[in-house]
Amino acid sequence: MGYRTYLAKQVIVYITVLIAAMSILYVFTYPVIQTVLRKTIQDEALHFKQAILKHASGHGTLNMTKINLEVHRYEAQLISSYGLNRPVYAKYFIQMYNLITFHFGNAYYLTAPSGSRKVSAIIAAYLPYTIILFTTGTLIVIFAGTIIGLLSARYAGTFWDKLVPTIAVIHSSLPTWWLGFLFIAALAYGIHAFPPGGITSVPPPKNPLMYSASMLYHMALPLLAFTIVNVGGFAYIIRSLVISTTKEDFVVTAKARGLSDSRILYRHILKTASPAISTQVALAIAGSFAGGLTTEIVFNWHGLGWLTYVAILSNDLPVILGITFVLTVILLLALFIDELVKGYLDPRLKVGE
């Protein structure tokens, strides 16, 4: 199996996973989706009617019967396009199609900064901030976790080694959002070392350089909370992977050849363990996803996690459903990219074993 075959197989697997995930969500929310769609249709019909009235009043002729007839026709058209009058299986396919083409209907109350009430527009406005925060956080965790894990594996029995189980305990018992909350109270409002929340300072700096600097400054605390919570678990896994690889025969051979410790660690052990490490990266991403999202709430970071909270508070169901779909796609993309990296790192796949 070469890298291409591997790639093709992964693409198929992930597409089926996406469809299955959507079906599960659909089963759980079936009755609610029907209400959401019905409300969206009523909403659009009302808009349509107002548009006609506006247009007609300009021309001086107002035939209410005719207008109502038009509106009813428009409504019927919408109902059939959303598939509300169709049997369940047809509804399912229409709903899947709507999801995959990002047609989530209209929000009940929330609007996008551009004024649009389309759920897809609202989500598109907030999505980039989630991606920025979560990607940066995950990369920091992977790098810092690998370094700490390697150090503790290399200096087994010393301070570094004892540090890792301790921080692994922290990892399994600390909610990210609470740590963030505490940081805000202590570091932002207590000693005023960091901004308490938001994405940039208000008003946002015009200069792009200053803008990114301000954004980084605002990202510091959420990233700190995210890293502290997640780095321990990852370092612990790296440590056990490296230690178990160290027991392999080829490492003993390398030692017998008189190679230096660091060369063995980086060229032999780490290279061999890297596919397994990237598998663990996938699990770590899936595991830290929830924490990353809730951190946005306490830091008032206007991403999807924060939007979820606002949607819950304002009872905006279509937005909650849309976000869940988008987040599923994002998580799957992250796992898929990780799969590609794993395939690239695994020499067995390259030679087509």
């Binding site: 089926t16 995930a21 600390l174 959002w177 699990l283 929830a290 924490g291 819950i312 998580l331």
Partner: protein, 449 residues
Amino acid sequence: MSSAETGIKLYLNTVLKNKSGIIGVAMIILFIVLSIYGMAAYKNVASEWNNANYWRAYPKVAMPAWMVYFNPNKIFLTKAFVSKPKTLYSSSSYEVVQVDYKFRWNKGSAPSDVVFYVGTSSPIETINIVWKKPDGAQVTLSQSSPSEATDLLSYISSLDSYISSQIGYVPPRVVASTLSKALFGYEGKGLLNGTVEKGTYEAKITLVVPPHTKVVANKLYLEGNAYGIFGTDIYGRPLGIGILLGLPNALEIGFLTSIISVIGGVIIGGISGYLGGKTDSAINWVTLVMLSLPILPFLVVMSYVMRPTLLMEALFISFLVWSFYAIIARSSAQSIRKEVYVEADKVLGIPSYRTFFTHFMPRLTPFAIAYTALGVPAGIILVETLAFLGLAPPGLITWGAILNGAEQNFAAVNGWWWWILFPGLMIILVSIPFVIIGFSIERGIFGGR
């Protein structure tokens, strides 16, 4: 997997042999005892938790009581005074009763609120309070048909006009502590600047009541700014009670989710690894699907749509997390499959379900126990996170919901650190013993390092 014997005794030994394991077990026992105590001692309180009236006489956002030792001049507990009621006038249509309080105030700041409590056998018609400061200045508060306990906010109209007569305007955001400053400050422009008149205060409460009314009980509360071990929240609810009552809920949901998901995951993963072939790849695909679901957003949708009870919530979480355990169980089962004794069973024609229960399940148990322990905090954190988002199972007291209250009432901005610190610390404290035990079993059985 080591070649050690399997059995419950072994795990107990592994846990009890090392110090941290014993600490973990002791902590869990302590938590269970505390939960039982909390459920028994505060049974009625639990149902009144969301009833704001119930907590009226408690000081609002008070610091933990032990803070008094650090700054006894500015931080103090609630003081209560009782007095003897006198009947001034009585006729066939009404009676006038007076309750007179005299007290010394020598603290550096005003109480957070003043509550007048008069319990009478029939409803009070009007209440009139003359408040005399040490320098002789007087404030009059009055209200008709008051409730038994009246705090300063119930006299806001009298007090607002008093404040504006002194400083010329009414501040934009008036809370109970602002009104209390007005009752304890020097008259003039600096009424609300926080300086406090020290000396003897007098409060004359005159009640107009129907004839033959008895004053059953009376009390004057000068609300402190410190209360209980963990302080109170903005409604005056003692956080200590909230934390204690949140404990059984957290433990229950942690245990439930962990046990259901680990048992489910180990059986599914074990069967998958044991059978191999097409069944294995089918189950593996299902596991992959479940693993790639974003747990929190799915839980948010499910809890939002269905508002589940505690048991349903546990089932939802288990449904979303069993795949983690299935993957690990599957790889263990695959390695057991290659062992000679499994081959021997096959040759002897022993039915496969028996092989599974005699050879696979016992070897999978240690791992299941380790992950059950590790799964408890994972379940607790998920539920507290949901509660923090405002999606706790209805009618339950959870630490996440307490923290949600802190977030919504800007506890961080206002410096109410106790409201943030203690509920969150409890989440960690409850998780730690399970994590310790889980890791120690994992290390002991899998050979750890």
